[in-house]
Amino acid sequence: MHSAVDKPALSPARLAIHAVLLVAVLLYLVPLVVMLLTSFKTPEDIGTGNLLSWPTAITTVGWVKAWGTVSGYFWNSILITVPAVAISTAIGALNGYVLSMWRFRGSQLFFGLLLFGCFLPFQTVLLPASFTLGKLGLASTTTGLVLVHVVYGLAFTTLFFRNFYVSIPDALVKAARLDGAGFFTIFRRIILPMSTPIIMVCLIWQFTQIWNDFLFGVVFSSGDSQPITVALNNLVNTSTGAKEYNVDMAAAMIAGLPTLLVYVVAGKYFVRGLTAGAVKG
């Protein structure tokens, strides 16, 4: 081991490691490269060249057309995702706060049952959810879709916050109670300011889940209120006219960009937040 570290020259073992890593990198990068290259090609160019060939002329025609087609749905997705993420995170934080620091009789059982929500496949809740939305008069509305995402996400957000808060010493809450602070004051002034890492984890997780969701989107929305994932599917799966691969690829890139952006901006908190509880014990 020691010599392998010291030796600047490439030993066979090192070469093998690098080779494997290189293959893995290519495996992940090639689809992205193909998408990017294709999105900047003209339809004729796509027809004549191969997948990995450089565009004969770089054109943004595909991107412009894609944006024209999906921009409305892009805003739909934002209108669905932002409130759903915000509400589910807020309620999850409050749930976690209660379940870790204001335990009541049966709160452990309550938490256990709530955890089941994490293991429920989307498909099982489709019918009950659609029935409920119908009763509430929210069928095929953005509000309805937000509600479904909030309820489905609560199991996860509660789990995140509860597990983060159990690592905070009880004495903090006791001290604040003796200082005269009440339930919400303690939450707002003491607990929330300590929660940045787990809030970030929750935001990223929920944003990714809800933005990328297809099933709830396709079931609980229709027409002009559909999220971008559904619109992308509709665009790609059209059976009329010639396939415009450059438009498809550009639209797919547009659909994927926001999640990437969230990772870049808040990603460092993600790893930190996931390990925070583990390290402090």
Partner: protein, 384 residues
Amino acid sequence: MATLELRNVNKTYGSGLPDTLKDIQLAIKDGEFLILVGPSGCGKSTLMNCIAGLEQITGGAILIDQQDVSGMSPKDRDIAMVFQSYALYPTMSVRENIEFGLKIRKMPQAAIDEEVARVAKLLQIEHLLARKPAQLSGGQQQRVAMGRALARRPKIYLFDEPLSNLDAKLRVEMRTEMKLMHQRLKTTTVYVTHDQIEAMTLGDKVAVMKDGIIQQFGTPQQIYNDPANQFVASFIGSPPMNFVPVRVTAQSGCLVAVLDSGQARCELPLAGAAAELEGREVILGIRPEQIALGGAQGNGLPGIRAEVQVTEPTGPDLLVFVTLNQTKVCCRLAPDVACRVGDTLALQFDPARVLLFDAASGERLRLASTTASVMDNAAASTGR
């Protein structure tokens, strides 16, 4: 400034579970310093949480200034508490930590500033006010935690093992400082500790607890000189009291306890021992510092010759271990006593100072000569 009284306080975490606190009965006067001491799991922290209102009692009453506060929420009891972990709010600066309780109570900002300045000066933390708790050392955090409690000027301070997270040297310093502080402020204080030295040095009154029951309640001197049972006797004092099993026999009309060092025998007269003790096995309790080196002076005290097995020079003292009745016995001697392992020492005991305990129950077997202090003790433990 307040009196505190606990009347038959009970606490259980559910029927069928053992009681965490059983019939806790004690009272302290305005400005007194009460120590709750006992091994971990004895219920002392639970009792403190009950006084604070962080946990509900299931029976009895807690009275502050004669007013029953059992049903009140913590914030209405006007109590401040210092926690073992300090429980400083990590996202707030030292100043904000101290201010927090005052702001919640809607004190005007000018008064808050004045109060923070007073407390910071008192505790010498003025230069730390802008820092966050994570930037402070353990001792500094401890001071801030105390500052937070002092700022409110509550009726009662509660301290939950406040010094146990400090290193040994700092702990001794802070102990003295806390005593000074209490002498100056004269606020009624309840202090939980498992450290018997803190209990002896800080308290006006000490309650020794075990298994949710107060074993003895009294002044440190009463607890030390006149323990109610073997548990109290063993818990208070360092090095701890020696417990030697002895047989009580009658010797020319007087009861005596027989000690055997392997080299010699000695009959310790038990003046005032009840006649029914004759022939029984009892536990003889004697503190290490009450064993003296027998000299040639011939003061008439009973003595015994015993072989030195281990010596531990601690600096101010020399601890010598000998064997009496097959039990290791520690003797606290002057450091200049010249003795080595294997030497034979002449040791003396003052029969008036030894205590007897029941071998089975550990209860104190009182001798008639100590009746007076028994009365004192009974008066103290009712707390009236």
